[in-house]
Structure formats: C-alpha cells, structure tokens
C-alpha cells in the first residue's frame, strides 16, 4: 500500500489519506476510471478506523476527485474541477502559508513579491503552451 499514515504529524488521518490520493490523481498515478479500494478493505490495510476512510472519501468526492455510485464502489473521476469559490479558498490558504513562512524567515513584502514574480516567469518560460499557471497552482 502506497498510502502512509503518520500518527505524530498533527494532521488528521482522514486528511492524510485524502491528500495522498489527491496527489496520486494530480500526478497521474491514478487515472479516471481507476477503482479505489472499498472502505473496509482500505481501513484494514492501513489499520485505521473505517469511519476515517469514509471521511477521506467523502472529502475527495466533495472535491470532485472521485465518485461513489451506490453499491458499485469508488472510482477516480480524473483531475478535479473545483468550484470557483473552492479554488479561490485553496489559493488563499496556500498564500497564507507562504506569508507565514516568509515572515518567520524575516522576508518583507517586496522580497516576497519579487520571488513570486520570478517563480511565475520561470514557470511560464518552461511551458510554452501557456499552461504554466495551472502547474504553478499545484
């Protein structure tokens, strides 16, 4: 099993599971139509409470990453199409984390902005198809 649980990370276990599956979908390891293990099966495999897997799957379903047609199992839907508000929320929290880290390291607003501009230019120059923004977003 490629999913790993860290009991001491302070991150809720359901979120650890959801994040690793999301990562696998985003990186293309899991593709649209792939079947995920049944709740019980994954719970036993990871030695976690089944309710935790239910919660992880529910979060992934809410994010549009998987679907769970009743009685047929759990399937990957492909790369997520997030609602506009949700996309914005995620970007905001990523930026917040960046600002906290920058402040901790003693960088001022101008330095953060310059670094961001630089990173965006780098990404754009590596990606002539103009998909750079999406890659940066991840």
């Amino acid at each position: 099993m490629w999913i790993r649980i860290d009991s001491h990370s302070g991150v809720p276990i359901y979120r650890q599971i959801a994040a690793q599956i999301e990562q696998a979908v985003l990186s293309g390891v899991l593709q649209a139509g792939d079947k995920l293990p049944a709740v019980r099966e994954l719970a036993v495999e990871l030695a976690v409470n089944p309710a935790t897997v239910v919660k992880a799957y529910a979060e992934l379903q809410l994010g549009g990453l998987i679907e769970q047609p009743r009685g047929r199992g759990t399937f990957v839907l492909g790369r997520p199409v997030l609602a506009a508000a949700q996309r914005h929320e995620r970007l905001k929290s990523a930026v917040e984390a960046l600002l906290v880290e920058a402040e901790r390291l003693g960088f001022g607003p101008d330095e953060v902005l310059a670094e961001l501009r630089h990173a965006l230019q780098e990404a754009a120059s590596h990606d002539p198809d103009g998909e750079g923004e999406r890659h940066v977003g991840r």
């Binding site: 001491h8 302070g10 809720p12 019980r40 719970a43």
Partner: protein, 289 residues
C-alpha cells in the same frame, strides 16, 4: 443501544477513591478507546465491567444487563483480554484452542484456525515458550474466536513490534466488520486510539474529563498561537469556549472550542495562527500540569 452504560459509577479501595462519578456511554458497534495515565483507574473500570470488582456506588449496564448480573448466555457474548493474559504454560497452542473451544458455547473453530495462520502461531509450540508478542496475539485470536458482541481489551498491542502491531490491529479492525460488534479498549498509546477508534474517553483525576466521537471532538477543538502583549491574558481566558491559555515566548497558546475570529477581535491581539489538533494535544490539555 449502548453496549456499555455507566451512571455515576464509583469505586473506592478502602478509603481511597479511584473512580468518582463515572458517566460513560459506549455505543453499540463502536470502537471505543479509554485513555488515561498509569494508575488513572482504566483497568479498575474494566474489572468493574467484568464483575471481578464491585462498584462502591452508582450503576452500570453491559449489553443492557446490570453489572455483575449477566447470565451465562449473555456473559458468553463478552470477551475480556487482560493486559497480561495468563495461560496454562504446559499446554500446546493447538491443545489450548481445543480446550477453550470445548468450554465456550460460541466458539468458532474455523476462525481460530484463521487467526493462528494470520498470526503465524505454531500449534505445536508450548504456550509457555511463546514470546510476549505471540501471547498477545494468541489472546486476541482466542477472544475473537468466541465471536464476542462486546470485546474488552486492556492495553492491546502493547509490547508488539511495528510489524506485529499492525497485523494485530488489522485483525481487530477486520473483526469489527461484524455489525453491532463493540470494542472497548484501554490504551496509553494516543496514536493507536486516534487511528483505530471512532470514540474515546479520557479518564483523569478519577473522572471522565472528555468523551465522545473522536472526529467531532477534534473538529471542534482549536489550538491557536496568539501574538499579544501580556495584558491580553485575562481577556483571552474569559472568551467563550477557551479552556487553557498558556504563556509563550511572544504571546499565548490558546486551546478550546473557540474560533480564531473571536481571538482576533480581542483587545491587544495582533496575530492568530491556527495549529493542528490531535488527541495528543487534547490529552496534554487535560492531563498536563
């Protein structure tokens, strides 16, 4: 229905109170973790449930029957695994299974064989020659082979290496697929409880300090790092839902059922950072000095 229901349960050893007004509901079908420090009274509580000890006060019910009044048929639906199970050391593993199987009305010989295989327990080995880890696994295998409706485990998986521990917990979780099967376990291992249980209770200072569904409780709990001058301390402590306010290098660590915005609105607060909450932090909040 609750598998276990305790109301104002008390236990004194002589004049020394050990448990004082315990209220506890263990929902049927749950995996319930009872946490507490050494000597908190976890084992005493289990022994009261099993009828090995008599309460000094209050009432308790096991599978709907008053404590100590379970009849044979009901008693057979409850399995109890102490922290250090005692076996006849001269019996071979296979002989022990036949022995227990002959005595127990709900014994499932096929399940017993499956657990023996899953745990890699050699049937010809004398029980006295088994390692501690093997004895721990044997005890779980025996308990599960009696198809219990309520399984009570005292410090399960303690003393197991990571590989055997995982196999042990997997067997336990697999066994919980049976509808309405309830597991009540005690542990000092916060990671184990957070990982395998869906409910928990924290026993400290002779009482249950906090109890309920783990996910719900952790969702509602916040741990917030607040930068503020020393004068903000009392205003923070007075906020609704705040349980502890601890001084840190540049402000306070606030915990409780409180939203970050309530802190941001408090006079003197400059910044609020939301930290993760796990059972470990909650445990320290209640048990810490």
């Amino acid at each position: 229905m609750s598998a276990v229901s305790l109301r104002n349960l008390c236990k004194r050893y002589g004049a020394v109170p050990v448990l004082d007004g315990i209220d506890l509901e263990v929902p049927a079908g749950s995996i319930y973790g009872l946490l507490g420090l050494n000597g908190a009274g976890k084992t005493t509580l289990l022994r009261l449930l099993m009828g090995f000890l008599h309460p000094s006060g209050g009432a308790g019910f096991l599978l709907g029957r008053p404590l100590g009044q379970l009849e044979g048929k009901e008693r057979a639906r409850v399995a109890y695994v102490p922290e250090q199970p005692a076996f006849y050391p001269g019996l071979r593993v296979g002989e022990l299974l036949r022995f227990v199987g002959a005595l127990h009305p709900r014994w499932d010989p096929d399940a017993a064989k499956r657990y023996l295989d899953a745990f890699g327990l050699p049937p010809e080995r004398k029980v006295g020659a088994l390692s501690t880890g093997m004895r721990t696994q044997l005890a779980l295998g025996l308990a599960l082979s009696t198809q219990p409706q309520l399984l009570i485990l005292d410090e399960p998986a303690s003393g197991l290496d990571p590989v055997h521990r995982k196999r042990y917990l997997q067997a336990l979780l697999e066994a919980c697929a049976v509808p309405e099967r309830t597991v009540l376990l005690t542990s000092q291992d916060l990671g184990l409880v957070e990982r395998t249980c869906d409910h928990f209770a924290l026993l400290h200072d002779r009482r249950i300090q906090v109890a309920g569904p783990i996910a719900e409780i952790l969702d509602a709990e916040r741990r917030l790092l607040v930068s503020a001058g020393p004068s903000a301390s009392s205003a923070l402590a007075a906020l609704d839902g705040v349980r502890t306010v601890r001084a840190e290098a540049h402000g306070f660590l606030v915990s409780g059922r409180v939203e970050p915005d309530a802190l941001r609105r408090t006079a003197g607060v400059m910044k609020v950072q939301v930290l993760g909450v796990s059972l470990e932090e909650l445990f320290w909040d209640y048990v810490g000095e």
